[in-house]
């Protein structure tokens, strides 16, 4: 295989075999089938062939089409931004927090604004965790509080002030019409307006969240599908360590505060 020219592999190397499925808003028939074939050809696939057409009523037709992909990608040149940090186990994480901070790390999690889908934040925060990986509540050096669904940015920002939070974990699952981008931006804007942004570690997670998007929106890190609490906890320690390296001797992250009314 030539890593500078990677393409799909179906049955033979470099055969470009690709399966597509989609609906067209036209009634099923020979014209619809030909339209689907032409459409896939215009997408850049060679030898498009319609494997299946289904009349779905209401003048909708469903297609399964195969085509030969002709594009290639230079795999060697691919770069994906991601939060780079060493993965640690729970005892190590606890020990590092104790050493670096000298107290428990306070982490709040929330689905903000209209988002009511807590599956992600629950998996990261709650004792039980997900997939055998226990949540942040299970770490003895982390004080984790899951605020749950539909927490308004106002409430969250006021909690950061009154409770002395070290890190915020924001979950956004609903992404229709980019509502997650609006919510996430709003929170960052409010934290910045209150002068709180630099004092906390701000993390976002969700099925459509990438490190790239997180950075773009002003978050420290973004975690997508497959993230476990261990990843998040390791990242938190990594950030604490980073701070320690930059400002040795100072046991607290920059500007972190514990007074209840700063």
């Amino acid at each position: 295989m030539d890593p500078t020219r990677v393409m799909p592999y179906g049955d033979m190397p470099n055969d470009g075999a690709t399966q597509l499925s989609f609906t067209l808003p036209v009634p099923a028939g020979e014209e619809a089938k030909e339209a689907a074939r032409q459409l896939v050809a215009k997408m850049g696939f060679a030898e498009p062939s319609v494997a299946h057409m289904q009349d779905m009523g209401e003048s909708f037709s469903f297609f399964i089409v195969y085509g030969r992909c002709t594009a290639t990608v230079d795999y060697a040149a691919v770069r994906v931004p991601r939060a780079e940090f060493p993965l640690l186990d729970a005892p190590r994480i606890n020990a590092m927090i104790a050493k670096l901070l000298g107290r428990r790390l306070k982490v709040f999690g929330a689905c903000i604004e209209s988002d009511a889908h807590t599956v992600g934040i629950d998996a990261i925060m709650n004792m039980k965790g997900y997939d055998g990986d226990k949540g942040l509540e299970s770490y003895k050096e982390i004080e984790a509080l899951n605020l749950g669904a539909q927490v308004s940015c106002e409430d969250l920002v006021s909690k950061v002030v009154t409770e002395g939070v070290d890190a915020l974990l924001i979950s956004q699952v609903v992404t229709q019409r980019d509502v997650h981008v609006k919510n996430l931006t709003r929170l960052v804007d409010m934290l910045e307006a209150e002068g709180l942004r630099e004092r906390i570690i701000l993390i976002v997670g969700g099925p459509r969240i990438s490190q790239e998007l997180a950075k773009e929106l002003g978050y420290d890190a973004g975690f997508g599908p497959g993230t476990h609490a261990g990843h998040v906890a390791s990242y938190l320690v990594f950030r604490l360590q980073q701070h320690e390296d930059e400002a040795p001797g100072n046991p607290l992250p920059e500007g972190s505060f514990h007074g209840s009314h700063d």
């Binding site: 499925s21 989609f22 609906t23 289904q54 779905m56 009523g57 209401e58 909708f60 469903f62 209209s114 988002d115 009511a116 807590t118 599956v119 629950d122 709650n126 039980k128 749950g148 669904a149 539909q150 609903v174 229709q176 019409r177 509502v179 099925p207 599908p225």
Partner: protein
Amino acid sequence: MQLRLDRERIAAARELAAEIAADLDELITGSTTTSVERAYLRLLGLEGTDEHGVPLPNVVVKHIHDGDGLGRGVCYWVANAMYRHDLSLDEVAEGVETGALDLVSEKEEAPEKVMPVLDELAVLGLKKIDKQREKRERLQNELGVGKEPQLYIIVATGDVFIDASQARAGVLQGADIVAVIRHTAQSLLDFVPFSAVTGGVGGTYANGENFRIMRQAMDDAGREAGKYVMLTNYCSGLCMPEIAVLGAVERLDVMLNDSMYGIIFRDINMRRTLVDQYVSRMINGYAGVIINTGEDNYLTTADSFEAAHTVVASQFINERFALESGLKEEQIGLGHAFEIDPRKKNSLLYEMAQARLVRQLFPRSPVKYMPPTKYMTGNIFKGYAQNTLFNLASVLTGQSIHLLGMMTEALHTPHLQDRYLAIESARYVFDAADGLAKELSIKPGGRIERRAQKVLADAVKMLEEVASVGLMEAISRGMFADIARNPDGGKGQDGVVVKEPDYCSPFIDLLRDKEGSAHGSDASHAIR
């Protein structure tokens, strides 16, 4: 495929559920809420909004609540003003809106004198519901209904006209029940958005206009498909009783209606939503609507295997609350789900045990079976296989309402082909296994039966604990779904008012008087 279950244990579960509900009776029947009072105004026929777009029922109820008069019931104050000034209901609302009238500072005439001015409107309001109920029965007789397990699809575009088009396609493909998902977080709006037909996010606004448009579309599609299509919406959240009225008037057939769900997953205040639920269920009962409860959701946060008994315990409680409101068992669609981790060995065995258990515990309930969601991964092909097993479990255990699993669950709201493929798979499995359950028996003393018996025993134990501490305390301890809620927390508490001794509403008796009302009846058949 019968499980052998301990009848005395089932009877004990029902007795405990009755005890748990009775403990809250004083709170529930002794209080009213802003949303309940708005629902009564809607039943009396008050519609429309003020110049700022605030619905008139909100304007009038807020006015009375601000004047500390809600404990007597909005109907009393409105009737008092109508009687004293010889005004219509609309004129009274207009007077409140313009500030010309201050209802609570009016001279208070005796209720016996003023309340009769509402009689005609109240009867008229309920007649609208009677007519829709009759029409449903007529159409169901004429066209027939889908065969169980009935195929339930959702549409969620945010635009009712696109919803209608996608739903029509689904009905022609074989769907029996159509649900329109609501705009994200509508459950937390303390008003019903008037006339918003487009612009919803993650779903479409639930309101009278959209109910009417979908009803018409589904009646038309049903005629074409040769069956009566049932229409579903969400009678939950802060406007529960008002949505119940709108749904009753526009002939919705199924309503998601469960205050336990609102408390746990939407952080709605317990007192608020328990009172709202009581009145909503009276209205749903009167309208012949099937309610669906949301126990399936517990398994999305708690462990689906370990917490199976919490679903059953909650179902007994929910059944009791529904009977108290006058719903019949045939209207109580209890929810459960196929949510065990697919990597667990013998997960299908445990799913079948649970599904069959629920079926046998609630034999007359149109139980609603929910598809896998928690362990759907984005691998749509594996998801399709998971849904196939779900379909098989459903037809073998005799479920009533079958919410179709989407292979793209966890990715996006269903695309047209997702719905089609789901219907095709379910139809295939239901036909392929049509007579299979009758040929199989569950091995006596085998693993399926033992699992079902254990879940039931654990449910009874949990009900004992809930009964001993009370439901509100049980919820505060996180006994359901691993989520804890405080009785004084949550949204909407400021809308709860203790009824005064002279509280008036013409509807409580009228809704109760419905012929055949099963108020307070027992689900006793399952015990004997």
